[in-house]
């Protein structure tokens, strides 16, 4: 199934793009997706951790992704 992935902050630099359309298998959880990204973009290992948001809300590791979800990679924030 197709999902859109958005990168922010340092992850944009590490991956080299701000947005990607990706084809992933059904029954993919956030943790599965993080592992998939790690293989596809080893550069992401350069940061200790990042959060994931699905459709503009923070998502737990066990959330199942759905077709057409917008998945955002959120490195440690530094607003204010």
């Amino acid at each position: 199934m197709k999902i859109q992935t958005l990168f922010f902050g340092i992850t944009t630099d590490l991956v080299g793009v701000a947005s990607l359309d990706l084809e992933i298998s059904e029954a993919t959880t956030i943790i599965d997706f993080k592992n998939y990204l790690k293989q596809k973009y080893p550069a992401l290992d350069k940061i200790d951790s990042y959060a994931v948001a699905v459709n503009e809300s923070y998502a737990a590791d066990n959330l199942l992704l759905k077709e057409n979800d917008v998945v955002a990679i959120i490195p440690p924030v530094s607003g204010g």
């Binding site: 922010f8 902050g9 948001a53 503009e56 955002a72 440690p76 924030v77 530094s78 607003g79 204010g80």
Partner: protein, 140 residues
């Protein structure tokens, strides 16, 4: 009555606007936090800061903070405004104002709102030095 004002803008933030929004006849005080761009990080001179945002989500997270603040503290109104784009030393990236009947609640609410913003709102700053640039907090 609108009790929260949330904004992310490329324009210069306006303290008067945030103040006017929270003014209320029933309130005995207004607390304000104004963030400003500092000229150094750990002894290294900062030239400028670039703020980028995941805007639709950042707006939602800021709204959540405003709603939680009204829920948690005895306060009347809150404004949370954040800037995006390139800012220079002394420029203002964030303003939070809170009005309340009594001062203590306004101080506590203001501190809670800025502390939470720094933890949850998807906004990132990049520091520019004379010899390069660094994403802040990226390597905690």
């Amino acid at each position: 009555m609108q009790r929260t004002s949330i904004k992310i803008t490329k324009e210069k933030l306006d303290l008067q606007e945030c103040y006017n929004f929270v003014e209320d006849d029933s309130c005995g005080g207004i607390a304000a936090f104004v963030g400003t761009v500092r000229n150094d990080t750990q002894g290294k001179e900062v030239k400028q800061l670039d703020f980028s945002t995941y805007k639709p989500m950042a707006i939602k997270e800021m709204q959540k903070i405003a709603d939680a603040t009204l829920e948690k503290f005895d306060v009347k109104k809150i404004a949370i405004h954040h800037a995006e784009g390139m800012l220079q030393i002394k420029d203002i990236p964030v303003i939070i104002t809170v009005s309340s009947k009594h001062r203590k609640a306004a101080f506590l609410a203001c501190e809670f709102a800025i502390d939470t913003l720094k933890e949850t709102v998807p906004i990132w700053k990049k520091e520019y030095f004379s010899d390069g640039e660094v994403w802040v907090n990226a390597h905690p």
